[in-house]
């Protein structure tokens, strides 16, 4: 009865967090029969950055990946991560594109849609949730967790209630930045359980080293499903270790029932796979608690550090880390997740590098201040808004309300190249990339970016020692 269920994210978030989303379908398929036998509640296997990485780097058709995984995992729920009205792209789409994307994802094998919005603006979630329900699949409404003066437990409880009213089947707490402490997790899960009747699903990244403790408190307070990752792709920027969660709960009233021996076989497989992608590993894969002090997620820090390095200004890193919370406050405390993490981070770099705050303002910040991403969680700094966009009118409606149906237009634009509705949707996500991608795919000339051979490096390494 009290059994805790487990979602494993190795096929999506695990490699997205640790090796820049580079795992190829060919490295997933050989282990699928074992994954399929585990008895997970679901396998997160698609969406997030995988669609982009497939098209951009791996030169794989993401829809083909989904079909292959569906076939190889006949007994498992396949789960995807969907950015609400942004789908898997980087802008808001019209509702007909959202409906078509959900339809095709379901047709090709997705069972569970985890749907979030960077602003927690429920208007950006509503159409995708309704589309999922319309095709008879599982809609998981998601709370993007963050901390700020407005992000308290009643705020999140209210979100959950609204998501329930939209027809969601489960509620996910998404702690992408690894900010949740065990104590807050316990309180939050308890409050959500009291307020809604839906099962609660916890997704807490391990970066700050708190996630397994938070899971424990979540379980104590009645969480239904927890996310983990098989050990060889777990911890650090990824999720806590599935095997450890299973072992921790074994023999208790919350026993997951999963076979730890089978999980170890799967882990051994992925440990070998991970070696192939060594070039994408970060230098340090341990615990990093800096986010708890400066609120800047680990992934954002490494992006910023690359950005500053290119400008020869790595010495300004501390100034940028100090500026980020100020920019976030100016923008009304958005959670820092795609795309708001990039919006806030890039503006903070500009503010530091130009030496005058908001002297130069990115288009993304302008659009944000005009309401094009949705409603900010708290009040936006009106001085900053004046500086950035003057008296331009701020939209109050749902951003997608300004968009007219666009599937027909997209179909026309990519006519001749697209062989299916799926191809049209690929084009919708990444227009420039997709044209070349579809051309090459049709011509049979797709080639993945090459992987560096560590053997070669190692042999030259030992050579240099003597």
């Amino acid at each position: 009865m009290a059994k805790v269920h487990v979602t494993d994210v190795v096929l999506r978030d695990g490699h997205q967090s640790l090796i820049a989303t580079r795992m190829r379908t060919d490295d997933m398929l050989p282990i699928c029969s074992k994954l399929d036998a585990v008895g997970y509640w679901s396998l997160e296997a698609w969406g997030g950055a995988t669609f982009d990485a497939c098209v951009r780097y791996l030169r794989e058709d993401p829809w083909e990946r989904l079909k292959k995984l569906r076939k190889a995992l006949p007994n498992s729920r396949l789960q995807m991560l969907l950015r609400g009205q942004n789908l898997l792209g980087y802008r808001h789409y019209s509702d007909d594109v959202v409906r078509a994307f959900v339809q095709k994802s379901a047709d090709n094998g997705i069972d569970v849609f985890r749907i979030f919005d960077a602003m927690n603006d429920l208007r950006n979630l509503k159409v995708s949730i309704e589309s999922v329900k319309a095709v008879g699949k599982h809609a998981e409404g998601t709370i993007s967790y963050t901390t700020s003066p407005v992000h308290d437990i009643p705020y999140f409880v209210n979100l959950a209630k609204e998501l329930e009213s939209f027809g969601c089947d489960t509620i996910a707490i998404k702690d992408m930045a690894s900010l949740l402490t065990p104590e807050i997790t316990g309180e939050l899960v308890k409050a959500l359980r009291e307020a809604v009747s839906l099962p609660i699903h916890l997704h807490a990244h391990a970066t700050s080293g708190l996630a397994s403790m938070s899971i424990q408190r979540a379980v104590d307070n009645g969480v239904a499903i927890v996310d983990g990752c098989i050990s060889s792709f777990a911890e650090g920027a990824s999720l806590p270790t599935t095997e450890s969660i299973v072992a921790a709960l074994k023999g208790t009233e919350y026993d997951t029932g999963l076979d730890i021996g089978l999980l170890q076989e799967i882990s051994a497989y992925f440990r070998e796979v991970r070696k192939k992608y060594w070039q994408f590993e970060s230098e340090f894969t341990g615990v990093d608690t800096r986010v708890l002090v400066n609120q800047v997620p680990g992934g954002m820090i490494s992006n910023l550090s690359n950005q500053l390095k290119e400008q020869g200004a790595l010495d300004r890193m501390d100034a940028v880390l100090d500026e980020i919370p100020r920019v976030r406050e100016d923008l009304g405390y958005p959670p820092l997740v795609t795309p708001t993490s990039q919006i806030v981070g890039t503006q903070a770099v500009l503010n530091v590098m130009t030496g005058a705050r908001y002297k130069s303002v990115t288009n993304e910040v302008k659009n944000y201040l005009l309401g094009h991403y949705g409603k900010a969680p708290s009040t936006v700094n009106s001085d900053v808004r004046s500086l950035a966009v003057g008296n331009a009118e701020v939209i109050e409606c749902r951003p997608a309300d300004l968009l007219t149906a666009e599937m027909e237009k997209l179909r026309n634009e990519v006519e001749g190249l697209a062989k299916s509705e799926e191809d049209v949707l690929t084009y919708a996500m990444f227009p420039d990339l997709a044209k070349t991608f579809l051309q090459e795919r049709n011509a049979g000339t797709l080639k993945p970016e090459p992987l560096l051979d560590k053997e070669a490096v190692t042999s030259s390494e030992s050579h240099s020692r003597f």
Copy 2:
């Protein structure tokens, strides 16, 4: 009142677990003023394998290290790990050597002595505990945690009661193999708290990914002190992350009171230090739950794998992993820790490689079966004993009762080389090593083993790519 105290192990167990005990004193001293300001309950900084590594690889005088650390950490309790009657060597010493070693350790700066025995044979702990109390220092009696049909909670409670009766000031639970689950930890701490009035100190390695959850349950049940390691030397085979423990308890009734900002400065320092020692890193530093299934600690697996590799028999690894629990059972279920882990592991390899169990028996196993390491936790297999040592008499007394005072003899043996009582003790620990070491030290010709330069490797690496 309920405040939880923290011991940080970065100066001892952290680098022992992750970079083969290679951290040099020069890399410790620059950060000591910050470490000293944290307000830890203690800093584990000496003993364990550090003494050996100083003499063997770093070519540093371990007593000089201790003096320097003492001076650099004037406000901190310095803690050492002591293997009972084995001290820091690999045999049993006579009581006068034990007393002298404890005296000199105290004189040079140790405040807290964590004392354990691989067999949990209390007779092997008594003299060192009494010596610590005689010099007015803190004696921490230690339970070497393991699992077996005889190692249940009443067994450990009984050990703790005896340790209390010996005059110990605290009781440590030492989970070197990372076997503790959160549930058992909670039960064990609760039972110990009910049975003894001493504060309980938890040392649980992170290998299996359970330690931070176990700490949480320990705290729930009244543990007084927990061991962590600063993040840049934490997790994997090391201890769980200090900053995460501090963050998890912050604002709760168990708040450690430590400043996470200061801890992050310390972590940033050690992150750079760790890079210097890259050649000693293991390939995989993540969570490994195999110990929960086969009871073989992670460190033992890597040693065995090296042993088998040298014999060109890496394909026998699974057979060896299956044989280890059988050998352990034959020997009456000793916990697997120095030196029993080596004793059991080497015999298991022999049993597999010779193709006939106990056809060849190591001297260590013979001595073990003759009682020279102390009393086995459970009954020894009498067939195995007959095979190994025939009808030879098994000693029933404390092994060290068979030893006569030896300090005088040691002094004579190393006369001319030893400049102090400390030097005599160094010689007592590692007679062969120490002679050369003292000679070279006296001549001023000590040279540490060289560190490989990663820069050189990296430049040749990028060269090989093009």
